[in-house]
């Protein structure tokens, strides 16, 4: 249930991978919700002995299963923003050879990838695996406000209130997709919202 086959799209759209255990002394694993299942899928005692797991359950109940893997460090937090200072600190102290594993929603993977890239890891060397919700983190191109967990297209910008069309055009820097006003030419003419992949 937690795996979703994304339809083919434009080149700007991120393509998420499948996690695999890689060589290295230290492993930073960041997951939200059902992303825990991807970590459970690759966990071995050897791997977890060098792993720092940062997990944001968002209502899912995998925390005990992750803790039972005996990672070197385990952190469970209430939200991604609450975990940011910890992630930054881990990256600041890290050495070359650190492996980064991101799994869960696109919003979590995109934002954590941005931090890892800023710390100097090439984005192509960061592993990802999508699990769980297909909701998107959207940036309104008009007011620049970010609306999290957008499930429908079109949707209403949480900041300026414009009706926004959900594009596949993605920004690695913002870790967000673009939302563009859908009724600029004909105000009020807004199609009925439906699921992004419907």
């Amino acid at each position: 249930m937690s795996k979703f086959e994304f339809p083919p799209s434009i080149r700007s759209r991120p393509v998420w991978g499948t996690l695999e255990a890689r060589a290295g002394k230290h492993h930073l694993m960041i997951a939200d919700a059902d992303g825990a299942e991807a970590i459970l899928g690759i966990a071995t005692p050897d791997l977890m002995a060098g792993a720092h797991v940062i997990y944001i359950p968002r209502g899912a109940s995998h925390a005990d299963a992750l803790r039972a893997l005996n990672p070197a460090q385990f952190y469970e937090g209430p939200s991604y923003p609450a975990a940011v200072t910890r992630i930054e600190r881990v990256l600041q102290d890290a050495h070359m050879g650190l492996q980064v594993y991101l799994t869960g929603t696109e919003g979590l993977m995109g934002q954590a990838m941005h931090l890892a890239m800023q710390a100097g890891i090439p984005h192509t060397a960061i592993q990802t695996e999508h699990r769980g919700s297909v909701a998107r983190r959207m940036q309104c191109v008009h007011c620049k406000g970010i609306t999290e967990d957008v499930e429908t297209d079109p949707f209403v910008c949480g900041h300026c209130g414009l009706n926004l069309f959900v594009r596949d055009h993605y920004s690695r820097r913002l870790a967000a997709y673009q939302g563009v006003c859908i009724d600029a030419e004909d105000p009020g003419n807004v199609p009925e919202p439906k699921g992004i992949y419907e």
Partner: protein, 320 residues
């Protein structure tokens, strides 16, 4: 015309550094400014030695921001095909020569937080230019430089004199070796490693870094392969409808050029991929020596890099 654009230069200085290495300075004949380059770039030097024309790549070691001259340092290779011997023995101050515009296949990744340089022997030359570039940009770097002996340690005095805390020198004849495990293990996130030197050293550094989980994108290396001499062979060029004999001491690319065919090239050292040529028929064994083709491509014998690779067998037909 294949290759990078050509520049007419005059040799204005020749400085022997030690028993094996000599430095050459080239200034433009027209008195103008040379194109700027980035650290790690090389130039292809044309050498007209009687009937033979050799085109050898050499790393530029001068300051990339100094457009008045290019300098290269050349190690004499007595067992080679004669390019370095020609420079050492025949070239005089005042001679006019032709060099190519700079081409960089070993550039710094400026996204790196730190640049870790590992040089072996004459592999020091690209780093000399990179260090000048990084010093201007206030970049963070350190150099680990292995040479055979103090007498053969080109530029050791200059490097340790100008950067006593960033340059680490290891002499083979004193059994000093780079402690690579420790060196790679403690590097801060965002470090890129660069290695230039003998093949064994490049393989050693790449293998270790890969095994310790360094991303492929953070491992940079450059090894110019000089085309090795080999048994003479014959090649048929299907597009040009010519049959060319490749001599013992010339490369396949040089033989194709000698036949008047303008074949593409850039590095002439098996690294850049420009000269890749499709094989129409190979009744024998292609001796692949490049760093460009993938192993499966080499095994399939459908492509060849004529700058360094050769052929042993009956018939070789190329799509050229």
């Amino acid at each position: 015309m294949s290759g990078a654009e050509k520049i007419a230069v005059r040799v204005t200085d020749i400085v022997p550094l030690n028993e094996l290495v000599t430095r050459f300075r080239f200034e433009p004949v027209d008195g103008g400014l040379l194109p700027t380059f980035s650290g790690g770039a090389h130039t292809v030097v044309e050498m007209r030695d009687g009937d033979i024309t050799r085109l050898n790549p050499y790393s530029l070691m001068s300051d990339p921001f100094d457009r008045s001259a290019y300098t290269i340092s050349v190690r004499r290779d007595d067992a080679g095909r004669g390019g370095s011997k020609f420079l050492h023995e025949k070239v005089q101050i005042g001679d006019e020569m032709t060099v190519s515009n700079p081409v960089n296949l070993f550039s710094l990744d400026l996204r790196a937080k730190k640049h870790l340089m590992i040089a072996g022997g004459i592999g020091i030359t690209p780093f000399l230019a990179q260090i000048k570039q990084l010093d201007r940009a206030h970049g963070t770097w350190e150099l680990h430089y292995a040479c055979r002996s103090e007498a053969l340690g080109s530029y050791v005095d200059y490097l340790t004199g100008t950067h006593p805390n960033d340059v680490h020198v290891y002499y083979d004849d004193r059994d000093q070796t780079i402690d690579l495990d420790t060196l790679l293990d403690g590097q801060p996130l965002g470090t890129h490693v660069y290695v230039c030197g003998p093949k064994g050293m490049i393989d050693w550094v790449r293998g270790k870094a890969h095994g310790m989980g360094w991303p492929r994108e953070a491992i940079h290396y450059e090894e110019f392969l000089a085309p090795k001499p080999g048994k003479p062979f014959e090649v048929k060029l299907a597009l040009s409808n010519k049959v060319v004999q490749v001599g013992e001491n010339e490369s396949l690319l040089e033989a194709i050029e000698r036949a008047g065919i303008d074949a593409p090239y850039l590095c002439r050292g098996g690294a850049c991929g420009q000269c890749e040529t499709a094989v129409v028929q190979a009744n024998g064994e292609i001796v692949h020596r490049d760093h460009w083709l993938e192993d499966d491509e080499k095994a399939s014998d459908t492509k060849i890099m004529p700058c360094v690779s050769r052929f042993e067998g009956k018939t070789l037909v190329l799509d050229r």
